[in-house]
């Protein structure tokens, strides 16, 4: 379906014509090239860093820990050094930086810089971290522990008819933004200007302010960004620090552009998770208790792990009503590249865990997978594990029933079971499984998921995002925000929100370039918050603007005016918005965000409104598995998303399509493992993401159940589509084999093993 022309993206034409300038397309006179010298060891003591006398170091600048004014990257904590000084804690940890007028000379210089290490024992299993004698953080290597408790598990144990236990695991995932990380730093008198591919200009500015405290002022400029998905949330602070240090020491503008290999191996990943789960149910399959011990493998430094952990812990039980809950969640340290932000931010791990619990229950209770979900779905007025009463825009059941109906789930489930029977029978008997070339196993599965919009807990009230809108000389409102376009359509959405609030054309609204000298800190572009949180400031200011102009007009003409569809009506006068606004050129409107006052969260005890509101979704995936090669193909993917209000309908569909495929990749294509402290991928040759040939037929529906405090009722969307795709796919595979699959990614070899179990045990695990 083609979109309404009003929904065309404002950035589309310059991108289609190849004219948009990404950071690698900048031309800067006298630009030097920087590179990073990295640790080859997962953990080691740095003995010495020596500079070869045989090399002429005159034309080259190098930086080591000694050159860093304040050697830490300020995020939640200050534990991560800009450059390792005494100890390296992961393979690829930056130890030194080199810059030279050409990349070739910089590479030559690297050959003459010798770092001697004494390798040390290291941690590579998150489940061993707490007991390990090796201390990476505090006394027990736990970056953060969260306990969420509700009701009484002993009571649950007494009343339960059945107890089911299982372990669930999720793997690393790499963002694979198509544009690798890149940053340029330019020294200017007392200032360093940093420009790059990034999500959160003020994160970078704050980190550099601390490093160069009192030495240099910092300006951060956002370049056209070629995808991010969270990968350019926290990591650019480190990369910008590197580029800035080289610029500071050399006096030249310096670029650091990662190639794909460096990017994939040494930048943040999605946290792997491991959980031990115990679930109590009554005779009908209703959940009476849930006991979860949940670990996030967080890598060597804290980065954003405590908040990723919080979102995971708060999301796990979100879609179901469970009276007795204990969630103990820990972010633990390992000697691995730090895990960081990634679309979903703990949500995908949590939802996969919970959905596999539901799958396991269905199997143990001999119920259909959708039925056990159906009877436990949480609804409006019920309370979550933190005691939050769901009041606004609750659509858990609506999305669930909608997707089952649209996908014809029940009928297909019966049909595919019958279809698979003879093929499975042949597999069990060890016979050749195919009678016809199209004898493939057909699966259908589902998932139910949610995503809390905006920051977790009191985050929004702490950050107090500020927005400014100014009227320019032409009478056009210009939005000044720190929100960044990285492909998701933020520029179009913001202009459209204000255009709709003022009932004028989108061309009447302008957006300022994102530069920390110009725009206020409206908060980072993360957590599916831009549209809902910052967007609500836009509509608020829009209303304020009209009110202000109405007052001014009354003052000027002596009679009241009314504003309708872009015009001010008063007496026999009709004045277009722009004409009135032009008289007020230079006028500034500012607003700071606060949650509605009744949203309260206690961060000590993890009680209350974890998020002001949730977006809801459900998905059905259909798969085909070849019974000989066990190749997996997702053939159809249905999903229903309830997002309050689609600000740009077409691009909302686009977000769901892209996020869903990224989630399908997470389920069955994207495998990245740690071997002896090293990540075992090098690029797109061995890290496989879906191509056009792998895309399923997608059938997407958006429901709108407005949230009263979002712009036009909008809630968050960006992350949600990814969150529930993997469990739907795995649910379909479990449906085929009727055996537990409690980990992602699922590879053909895993299904081959299941087929071996079928063969040996006639289907019993």
């Amino acid at each position: 379906m083609k979109p309404n022309p009003k929904d065309f993206r404002v950035d589309a034409l310059s991108k289609l014509r190849g004219e948009a300038r990404y950071i690698r397309d900048e031309r800067i006179l006298g630009l030097w090239h920087g590179l990073t010298v990295r640790s080859p060891h997962p953990r080691a003591r740095i003995i010495s860093i020596d500079f070869d006398d045989a090399f002429n170091w005159q034309n080259v600048t190098f930086v080591t820990a000694q050159d860093v004014p304040n050697n830490y990257v300020a995020m939640i904590e200050k534990d991560m050094p800009v450059l390792a000084e005494k100890i390296v804690n992961y393979v690829g940890e930056p130890v030194a930086l080199i810059a030279a007028p050409s990349p070739e000379l910089a590479m030559e210089a690297r050959e003459h810089l010798h770092v001697q290490y004494k390798p040390l024992p290291f941690i590579d299993d998150p489940l061993q971290a707490e007991q390990s004698d090796i201390k990476l953080y505090g006394s027990n290597n736990v970056f953060k522990e969260i306990r969420i408790e509700r009701g009484d598990l002993d009571e649950a144990e007494k009343t339960a008819d059945k107890v089911v236990e299982l372990e669930v695991r999720t793997g690393f995932q790499e963002h694979v933004y198509l544009e690798p990380q890149g940053m340029i730093a330019i020294p200017e008198n007392n200032r360093i200007v940093v420009k790059g591919s990034l999500q959160c200009p003020y994160y970078v500015k704050n980190a550099l302010n601390e490093i160069f405290k009192g030495l240099r002022d910092i300006t951060v400029v956002h370049a056209t960004t070629g995808g991010a998905f969270g990968g350019k949330e926290d990591f650019p602070s480190l990369l910008a620090a590197h580029a800035a240090l080289l610029a500071y020491k050399s006096g030249h503008p310096v670029a650091i552009f990662y190639d794909r290999r460096e990017d994939i191996q040494f930048t943040t990943k999605r946290h792997p998770s491991v959980s031990k789960n115990k679930v109590y149910v009554d005779a009908e399959g209703k959940l009476v208790g849930l006991d979860i011990e949940f670990y996030l493998d967080s890598g060597a430094y804290v980065t954003l792990s405590p908040v990723v952990l919080a979102r995971a812990a708060l999301t796990i039980s979100g879609c179901y009503y469970i009276p007795n809950v204990r969630i103990v969640a820990k972010a633990v340290a390992t000697n691995t590249v730090p895990s960081g932000a990634f679309r979903g931010f703990g949500g995908p791990q949590a939802i996969f865990t919970m959905e596999m619990i539901m799958e396991e229950l269905a199997q143990k209770l001999k119920m259909d997978a959708h039925r056990v979900r159906e009877i436990n779905l949480i609804d409006e007025g019920q309370t979550t594990a933190t005691g939050q009463v769901l009041k606004y825009s609750v659509s858990n059941k609506q999305t669930f029933y909608d997707v089952l109906e649209r996908s014809n789930y029940q009928q297909k489930l019966n049909k595919y079971r019958q279809w698979n029977e003879p093929i499975l029978e042949r597999l069990k008997q060890g016979r050749y499984p195919k009678r016809h070339p199209d004898d493939v196993l057909k699966g259908i599965g589902l998932s139910v998921f949610l995503h809390g919009a905006g920051f977790t807990g009191g985050g929004e009230n702490r950050i107090k995002g500020k927005l400014r809108i100014e009227i320019n000389d032409n009478g056009q409102p210009v939005i000044y925000s720190a929100q960044t376009e990285m492909g998701q359509g933020q520029q179009t959405a913001f202009r459209k929100i204000l255009a709709d609030a003022l009932a004028v054309d989108i061309e009447q609204i302008l957006l300022a370039d994102v530069n920390t000298d110009l725009v206020p800190n409206s908060g980072p572009t993360v957590a599916s918050r831009s549209t809902m949180v910052v967007g609500s400031l836009i509509t608020d200011i829009g209303q304020e603007m009209i009110k202000k102009f109405l007052e001014e007009l009354k003052q000027e003409y002596g009679f009241p005016f009314e504003y309708r569809t872009g015009y001010f009506y008063g007496g026999d006068m009709v004045l277009p918005f722009r004409q009135v606004a032009q008289k007020h050129a230079g006028l500034i409107f500012e607003k700071e965000y606060r949650h509605p006052p009744f949203i309260k969260f206690d961060e000590q005890n993890w009680k209350g409104d974890a998020y002001p509101v949730y977006s809801w979704a459900a998905a059905v995936a259909e798969t085909e598995v070849d019974p000989i090669t066990f190749n997996i193909k997702v053939t159809r993917y249905y999903t229903t998303h309830e997002i309050g209000k689609a600000i740009n309908y077409d691009q909302s569909i686009a977000q769901i399509q892209g996020g869903s495929l990224q989630g399908i990749g997470y389920a069955i294509y994207e495998k990245l493992e740690r071997q002896n402290g090293h990540l075992n991928v090098h690029g797109f040759v061995d890290y496989i993401i879906p191509t056009t040939v792998d895309m399923p037929f997608m059938d997407i529906k958006i429901l709108e159940n407005p949230y009263p405090f979002g712009p036009f009722g909008a809630k968050g969307l960006g992350e949600l589509p990814l969150v529930g795709a993997a469990p739907a796919v795995v649910s379909s595979l479990r449906m085929i084999f009727s055996l537990p699959i409690n980990k992602i990614p699922v590879m053909p070899e895993d299904l081959f093993e299941l087929a071996q179990i079928l063969r040996k045990n006639g289907g019993q695990p």
Binding site: K2, P3, D7, F8, R9, D11, A12, L13, K15, L16, R17, G18, E19, A20, R21, Y22, R24, D25, R27, H175, V176, Y177, L178, E179, P180, T225, G226, G227, A228, F229, D259, R260, R261, M486, G487, Q488, G489, D650, Q651, I653, A654, Q657, G658, G659, S660, L661, Q662, G683, F684, V685, I689, P690, T691, T692, V693, M695, M698
Partner: protein, 168 residues
């Protein structure tokens, strides 16, 4: 070494380092910024250009191999009257997001449309024609829909036959 080739219809003679890739020469030396590096190993297609009318990954072509050949990048496609139709299809289908992959997709789209001879369009053909271009934002659906629409566009065939400004 000196290499001579045609880029977007213009003859260029360059003295280049023989280790350079065609991608480096196009993006860095000739400032054709639509040619993007996404992986440097021929997997992602962001650096796709037409090499004698065929879509190739310019990161896998040593620059000297272009000697005597004809290269067309997205910048060159804009000189062809059919380009606005292609651009419009991508725009109308909402197939643009971060767009780092996009010029590669557009070049592959043109290569497919120009070289396809089948009477009927099927979706699998389109998917295979674009399988060498990776995208992480869109999930491909809107891109494939746009290209399917274009493949059914009668006027484009004429524009290829009569107004294609390049030799191949």
């Amino acid at each position: 070494m000196i290499v001579s080739f045609k880029v977007n219809g213009r003859q260029v003679d360059l003295d280049i380092d023989p280790r350079k890739r065609l991608l480096d020469v196009l993006h860095d030396d000739l400032q054709l910024i639509s040619v993007k590096e996404g992986c440097g190993e021929g997997e992602c297609g962001a650096c796709t250009v037409l090499f004698d009318g065929q879509n190739v990954n310019s990161c896998l072509v040593p620059a000297f191999q272009a000697d005597g050949h004809e290269i067309v990048t997205l910048e060159g496609l804009k000189k062809w009257p059919g380009f606005s139709t292609i651009e419009r299809a991508y725009l109308e289908h909402g197939a643009v997001q971060c767009a780092y992959c996009l010029s590669g997709f557009v070049v592959s789209t043109v290569a497919y449309l120009k070289n396809q001879t089948e009477q009927t369009v099927n979706e699998d053909q389109v998917k295979y024609a674009l399988a060498g271009n990776l995208c992480r934002c869109t999930g491909y659906t809107k891109i494939v829909e746009a290209v399917k629409d274009l493949a059914e566009h009668e006027k484009l065939k004429e524009l290829f036959a009569e107004d294609w400004p390049y030799e191949r």
